[in-house]
């Protein structure tokens, strides 16, 4: 019976399952690093923070943090949509908006980071 139904299986979910766990693991040290970075710059002026963000030792982990965070956020929101939105059309639309929002906001954050790096 299972074989008969293979054709209507979505064949998806494993990729998101793996990515969700990888990004979750990555975010643990990256968030700790971010908090440490923010705490050590308390009281610093704009130029100091700008210089910190422009440093390549900051850009790489910050870029990884943004990538992992927005990928994780997209998957998490998608889980909520799949759990609670039962109308197929509405679910498709919200899934698209979720991806669109994460790419847009993540892209802006990434672009901001790079622009600081190359203009500082």
């Amino acid at each position: 019976m299972a074989q008969d139904n293979v054709s209507i299986s979505a064949h998806k979910g494993t990729g998101s399952f793996i990515l969700q766990r990888i990004t979750a693991l990555l975010l643990i040290p990256l968030i700790i690093w971010l908090l440490y970075g923010l705490v050590t710059h308390i009281g610093g002026d704009r130029a100091v923070v700008y210089a910190w963000l422009a440093d390549m030792r900051t850009v790489l982990p910050m870029g990884a943090l943004l990538l992992a965070m927005f990928a994780h956020m997209r998957i998490g929101m998608q889980e909520i949509i799949d759990d609670y939105i039962h109308t197929p059309d509405l679910r498709s639309m919200l899934s698209f908006l979720n991806s669109f929002f994460c790419v847009l906001v993540g892209g802006i954050a990434f672009w901001s980071l790079l622009s600081i790096t190359f203009t500082a």
Binding site: A2, Q3, A10, S16, F17, D82, D83, Y84, H86, T87
Partner: protein
């Protein structure tokens, strides 16, 4: 959207009946039972029975006593009365379990609250319609699929046989699936006779894993292909209610984790 309110005519009314204790009865306890007849033009109600617990050891004994001595209209399923058939699964004091294996001494003091299995259509009182649950069980093909037919039987090593322990003992009582919030939200989404955008639930996935673990079975790829679905498998969020309530002490959550591990390993 998910239904956060009760369907029409399913809200419990306050018109429950009270059945006082028989004269001279001792060792009394109040038993509150959900009552509903879909053919009657009334909302569900909760009836209260004052029952003499002398000589009563299991919850099923209480129900049988009520039906025999107090209210013959009370409807519930029961058969083996020893935790083998799964017929008397119901929600007792907030947890799904078998009435026949739930001892009164496990339920402390105070009132006893008995409801049908959650989030299933009620046929009458404590009897639920498990058609969809059985359809999901059938969907995972819970039978041996071997490419070759041996002359006698399919042989299996002791080690391979041991892998099935904790998996084959499921009695399909539906306590696990109907205790799972993910199953409440997404357990009945498919159209009639079809499983689409629908979570199969802990019981069906436990059975799926039982056959995935069977060394004699040759349909592993097809089984995994069928299960690799955002809804059928991945609606499980490891809430663990299934493992918490299983009256046979099985661990469906671990079985589901095992299927996910197989999915990851095959890439």
């Amino acid at each position: 959207m998910v239904e956060l309110t009760l369907p029409k005519n399913s809200k419990i009314s306050r018109k429950g009946k009270n059945f006082p204790a028989a004269k001279g009865a001792k060792n009394l306890r109040t038993v509150k039972i959900y009552r509903f007849d879909p053919e009657a033009p009334e909302n569900p109600r909760v009836d209260s029975y004052r029952v003499d617990m002398t000589g009563v050891s299991m919850v099923l004994d209480v129900l049988i006593k009520i039906k025999n001595e107090i209210d013959p209209t009370l409807t519930f399923r029961r058969s083996c009365r020893e935790g083998v058939c799964g017929s008397c699964a119901m929600n007792i004091n907030g947890a799904n379990t078998l009435a026949c294996t739930k001892g009164m001494d496990e339920l402390g003091k105070g009132d006893l609250h008995i409801y049908p299995l959650p989030h299933q259509p009620v046929v009458k009182d404590l009897v639920t319609d498990l058609s969809n649950f059985y359809k999901q069980h059938a969907a995972v093909a819970p039978f041996l699929q071997a490419n070759e037919t041996p002359e006698k039987e399919h042989l299996q090593s002791h080690d391979d046989r041991e892998k099935l322990d904790g998996l084959y003992e499921c009695i399909l009582c539906a306590s696990c699936s109907t205790s799972c919030p993910s199953y409440w939200w997404n357990g009945d989404r498919g159209e009639e006779g079809e499983i689409k955008d629908e979570y199969l639930g802990p019981a069906a996935l436990l059975q799926a894993y039982r056959w995935l673990q069977d060394s004699r079975d040759d349909a592993r790829k097809a089984r995994l292909d069928y299960l690799e679905d955002n809804f059928r498998l991945y609606r499980c969020h490891t809430i663990m209610n299934c493992t918490q309530v299983c009256p046979k002490g099985l661990n469906p959550a671990e079985a589901i984790a095992g299927i996910k591990r197989m999915m990851v390993e095959r890439g």
